[in-house]
């Protein structure tokens, strides 16, 4: 029997959010949008049973009303009197997180007989609109066909059992295949393997004298995918630049990892080995950090893509060592601009505003529901991200020192814990390794999933319990490639045998290959000694988390997969992990010829300052930040919003993860793709400088600071693209060495491009640098808001003629050439000096100069503190670097984006102490904090070039994203 229960608000409260979004689409006639929640419940339930379910479980008696009927659909599904009804439900096979909760709630009521539950949302839209407009509203706002559909009749709610699966071993005739066949097999099977790789696999099986099975091919494709294997970054590269050639045998090992090895810091506990990089925290704990991207899934299903992106990266610290407790998130997004014209959108592409809202909601729901604070981040807009947004998610974990390492023992059992396995995310890893096309949403629909944060929270709770009871030897997460990568990775040194039919399934009908490569979320794999397995299973059972023995770690050094006793995979671990053919890729880079624009310096720079503050990239992100719980776990010390009204832009975030200790963790990010358009080397350098500056600005230091690199690039099969990537990696090496800040982990996502017709649109090569550091005493931290009228304003660090890639140039529509550079050794000395001054209590406020330079930094400090300020540009230490014959100019000094600079507020009585502490550094006493609201900048000639007040500055900064 099928029951339909519909729950709606008694006062027919309408959803103003959806209405606003409809207006954004340019559709004006809509007057109201009501939303009702629909439950379709299947089972042998009586009328009185369904009444109890509706009344006691599904409805809030104070605010809601319900109705029910014994049919899955309503009578009036069509348009009635100026009101249109659109009912949206999930596609078959897509995880509906509400289903499990409702089933549990019904059982708790004591009502038996429920078989399954489906949910839907019913939108009742009132007003005047055409059928075409209704279609636009539905498609652009109410549902995403990748995961949902509009209910049209009873068949829309399919409860049919999927067909049973009957085992049939599938083999592929590789030994007998021509090169052309090989290419076809790779393409048709969505394997994304190159001809050279296919040939290598053919050779392996020719020697074995047999045909590979489909699951063997899939396993190789997953393990060798760019996503899992990082074959470009770890591959051989023939690099040419300025007439010089250099052959890299392994780019990663010869740049980023090399710096770490050479720095050899004793506080680095585990680097580039585990699921995240681990550093020392205090005598008892270590902390670990990882950031990843989930770009392609977020492009086609923003909510689900971002949701599972964060869910995935949280499992990295959870799967590091013997399991770290996730303590904070940091997220960085790159989108097209929110006001992008609808009619310019390429086919198959979602509007940037919808992508942004979906991504923010996805991250919000996963982070908030897991109870992990999202403490900082960044959002960048550039229309080259329209078809291929970037969604970086990072997570920090903390674990006891003695739980920081793992080792799989032969004879241990393989235990799979967490969510059940379905068809979700098949080919996710290979999908993310190719480019997006307008058909991506169709062919790759299976690659998209919706996360279940509550499941992951349950899994995390049980894992940490089992960890503290010493119940397992090793752990890893199921990420890209699902079990195929987790199992292959864990069994690399020993060998492993897995019985695929033992894996708990969400529904029947999965083939053995689908089971193996599914990327169903919220799963982890443990290596458990036989004598502890019962106790371990008990820990999970007690809290309703699935845990199943699915195999055993062996001594065979082979990956053996079985389905109902039949062998379906028998691969040598050595071939799987080391068999990838090494190809030399060509890379070439030459600095593009960029011209410095020539124009007269405007007399009045107020409009420029306001315009930069209103730039999408600079403006307030409060609308996003407040949707994240940034304070759960009660550890926050420096929050993302600071200042007299809790709304100024903080630099790094500081948290105090051990509640009875004042030791802190500091997290920051540096990202600026505009510099990469001039020179990726200086982009990487500037990003590193920015991440470190932020740590200094809140009172941290560089003693124990570690970095993560996260490269998102276009098509690196093109030598020019790969050349830029090499150049950025070189920047990472030099800066890491110069700042003595080792990289501890990283990630790359290549092929971030979008094909429109025949044209390829590539994202700008983008490197996110994330930094983590330990604060000895959080009580010495400071924030960026001016604290007191009368405080002296200093600029720390040298200003150069570096407007290339700046936001000032952006307001004029030009890029320029004079990209900011970094002298890491000198920067380090300066940062350390400032850090000591801050720790000695000599500084009241400190903010780093980044986008918009001195002008924006000083303005933000003023309005965050609720004070006015005056600044004299003639006091700013300045040197020419690019144009040594050029003159100093007001706009140049105010908006140059030179690195390693800070604006600092100091009490007059601490002037001497501060100047003494900063002796030897470029330092300028440039002005003071004012009691009134006026914000004035005096130019080199002594005249006023900016005259405004902190309220106007703040308004310019807050208005764009006040949604």
């Amino acid at each position: 029997m099928l029951w339909r229960v519909e729950v709606c608000d008694k006062d027919h409260g309408f959803d103003s959010g959806v209405k606003r979004d409809i207006e954004d689409l340019g559709i004006k006639g809509v007057e109201s949008v009501e939303v009702a929640q629909v439950y379709i419940i299947k089972g042998g339930i009586s009328r009185s049973g369904i009444k109890r379910i509706a009344g006691e479980l599904l409805t809030d008696p104070v605010t809601q009303a319900y109705s029910f009927r014994s049919s899955p659909i309503t009578d009036r599904n069509a348009r009635v009197r100026k009101r249109a009804v659109v009912e949206v439900t999930y596609n078959a096979g897509v995880m509906d997180p509400v289903e499990e909760s409702v089933k549990k709630g019904i059982l708790d009521l004591g009502v038996k007989g429920v078989e399954s539950v489906k949910t839907a949302k019913k939108y009742i839209i009132g007003g005047n609109m055409s059928t075409g407009q209704l279609k636009t509203i539905s498609e652009k706002l109410l549902f995403n066909k990748v995961i949902q559909h509009v209910v049209t009749g009873p068949d829309s709610y399919s409860f049919k059992n999927p067909p049973q699966y009957h085992f049939k071993l599938i083999t592929v005739d590789l030994p007998g295949s021509s090169d052309k066949d090989l290419e076809n097999i790779s393409k048709k099977g969505q394997l994304f393997l190159s001809l050279a790789e296919m040939r290598k696999i053919r050779e392996y099986f020719v020697i074995l004298g047999r045909k590979p099975t489909d699951v063997e091919l899939e396993t190789l494709a997953q393990t060798w995918s760019e996503h899992c294997g990082h074959k470009t970054f770890r591959g051989m590269i023939d690099y040419e630049s300025a007439g010089k050639r250099r052959l890299y045998n392994n780019l990663l090992k010869e740049t980023i990892m090399k710096a770490t090895a050479e720095l050899n810091k004793p506080w680095c506990v585990s680097v580039f080995k585990d699921n995240s990089g681990v550093i020392r925290f205090d005598g008892k704990y270590n902390i670990c950090f990882k950031a990843e991207t989930h770009n392609h899934p977020s492009a086609i299903e923003p909510y689900g893509g971002a949701n599972t992106g964060l869910g995935g990266v949280i499992r990295d610290p959870l799967g590091t060592g013997l399991g770290a407790k996730p303590i904070l998130n940091t997220d960085v997004f790159c989108f097209g601009e929110p006001d992008y014209e609808f009619n310019r959108l390429p086919k198959g592409v979602l509007h940037p505003k919808r992508v942004m809202k979906g991504v923010v909601a996805g991250v919000r729901d996963y982070g908030n529901k897991m109870g992990i604070p999202t403490v900082n981040g960044a959002v960048l807009f550039d229309n080259r991200y329209v078809g291929n947004p970037l969604v970086y998610c990072g997570n920090v974990g903390i674990m006891p020192k003695d739980k920081s390492f793992k080792e799989v023992e032969s004879g241990d059992l393989v235990v799979l814990v967490g969510g059940k396995t379905g068809r979700d995310g098949i080919h996710g890893a290979t999908f993310s390794s190719g480019e997006l096309t307008s058909e991506s949403e169709q062919v790759s629909a299976q690659a998209v999933q919706i996360g279940n944060p509550i499941e992951e929270k349950k899994v995390a709770d049980c894992i940490l319990k089992a960890r503290d009871l010493n119940l397992y030897d090793a752990i890893t997460d199921c990420g890209g490639g699902g079990l195929s990568s987790a199992g292959g990775e864990m069994g690399e040194k020993t060998g492993v045998r897995i019985d695929l039919d033992k894996i708990p399934l969400k529904y029947e009908g999965l083939t053995y290959t689908e089971i193996w490569i599914s990327e169903a979320q919220e799963r982890m794999v443990l290596s458990v000694p036989k004598n502890k397995v019962n106790k371990l299973l008990g820990v999970f059972e007690k809290e309703d988390v699935e845990a199943t023995v699915i195999g055993e770690f062996t001594r065979t050094k082979k990956l053996g997969l079985f389905y109902k006793g039949k062998k379906v995979c028998d691969l040598d671990m050595s071939f799987l992990h080391d068999g990838l053919p090494r190809i030399v890729r060509k890379a070439k880079w030459s600095r593009p010829k960029r011209v410095e624009p020539r124009f007269a310096c405007p007399k009045n720079l107020t409009p420029s300052l306001l315009k930069i503050l209103s730039d999408w990239n600079v403006c307030s992100k409060e609308w996003i930040i407040r949707q994240y719980d940034h304070e759960v776990q009660a550890a926050s010390v420096v929050k993302p919003l600071v200042g007299v009204n809790n709304d100024g832009p903080s630099d790094a975030a500081v948290a105090r993860p051990v509640l009875n200790s004042d030791k802190g963790v500091i997290i920051s990010n540096g990202i600026n793709p505009r510099y990469g358009d001039i020179d990726p080397y200086w982009m990487a350098a500037s990003n590193i400088d920015e991440a470190l500056r932020q740590i200094i600005a809140v009172g941290g230091d560089l003693k124990e600071v570690a970095l993560l690199d996260n490269f998102c690039w276009g098509d690196t099969d093109q030598p020019s693209q790969l050349g830029g990537l090499v150049r950025a990696a070189q920047g990472c090496y030099d800066m890491s060495k110069g700042f003595q800040a080792p990289f501890i982990s990283g990630k790359d996502s290549l092929h971030n491009e979008y094909i429109v017709g025949k044209k390829r649109v590539s994202i700008p090569g983008t490197v996110l640098i994330s930094a983590i550091s330990v604060a000895d005493d959080v009580k010495k931290c400071i924030t960026m808001d001016f604290k007191e009228a009368g405080d002296l304003i200093y600029v720390v660090g040298m200003t150069y003629d570096e407007l290339g890639g700046s936001y000032y140039y952006k307001t004029r529509g030009v890029l320029g050439n004079s990209v900011p550079t970094v002298d890491a050794k000198r920067s380090r000395t300066l940062m350390e000096r400032l850090s000591r001054a801050i720790k000695s209590g000599l500084v009241n406020a400190c903010h780093d100069c980044s986008e918009g330079g001195i002008g924006v930094a000083a303005a933000e400090m003023a309005f965050a503190g609720g004070f006015g300020a005056e600044i004299k540009l003639e006091k700013v230490p300045f040197k020419a670097k690019y144009d040594t014959r050029g003159k100093r100019r007001d706009d140049l000094i105010l908006f140059s984006e030179s690195n390693t600079r800070f604006i600092v507020g100091v009490s007059p009585e601490k002037q001497k102490g501060f100047e003494k502490a900063m002796k030897g550094a470029a330092l300028g006493l440039i002005g003071g904090v004012l009691d009134d609201k006026y914000f004035a900048v005096y130019g080199l000639g002594g005249g006023i070039v900016v005259r405004t007040d902190h309220k106007e500055l703040k308004e310019a900064w807050q208005a764009p994203l006040r949604w």
Binding site: V102, E543, D629, A634, K779, T783
Partner: protein, 269 residues
Amino acid sequence: MVAIKSRPKVIVLRAAGTNCDMETAFAFEHAGAISEAVHINQLVSGEKKLRDYHILAVPGGFTYGDDVGSGKILANELKYKLAGDLEKFVGAGKLIIGICNGFQVLVKAGLLPGKGASGEQLAATLTTNDTARYEDRWVHLKPAKGLNSGFQSKCLWTKGIERMIYIPAAHGEGKFIPKDDEVLGKLWANGQVVFRYVDPYGKLAGFPWNPNGSVDNIAGVCDITGRIFGLMPHPERHLFASQHPRWTRGEAHREGDGISIFRNGVKSV
């Protein structure tokens, strides 16, 4: 030898999706109690007994994903699976606190505002914020009596709190609505209104000071005995000065404003 007064035992209830259990347990320990995080399954199975504790704390989180309605599924679980034990616990004069999701659970289970003077059920709920979105922001709470002299809150958890307190709220469904004016009137008359959202000057105000649009700016209520207390904002997130959003501006006190609530609870056992 100094006589050691026995420390009260607090059960911090966990379920799927609870996520403020650790800091809530810490807050009680910091206030002098012994606290233990216990999974609801352990109570249902009988492995742990509610009667072994003096205080029940239902912490924040998203129990069962807040699917169906915030706190609803855990509320039903308490109602249908632990009804007897809970009744005895309350009957024995023991204390209960619900914070954020825990408040939603207590309200939806009917424990708050609970029964009126003549045993009638006082119906109320917590529903979607007027902004229609989840928000994290700090709020000023004023003890209810300060606004309506004559109406003194009975709440044991807030005894002696005279001045405004400042703690963070973080929720999407925190708008408190009594069923009707009659219920609202009784809540006032019974001294069940505990905290109200106010602006920095202590005046009633709308958004953002009242972050969710609660009726009469009500942020927290107690039952008619004053022993069961629930509130949307998070006192456990403000135990220390460094948790204050403007501590770097010298605005924090030596201790966070939230600790007094936990001390009162521990003292009242």
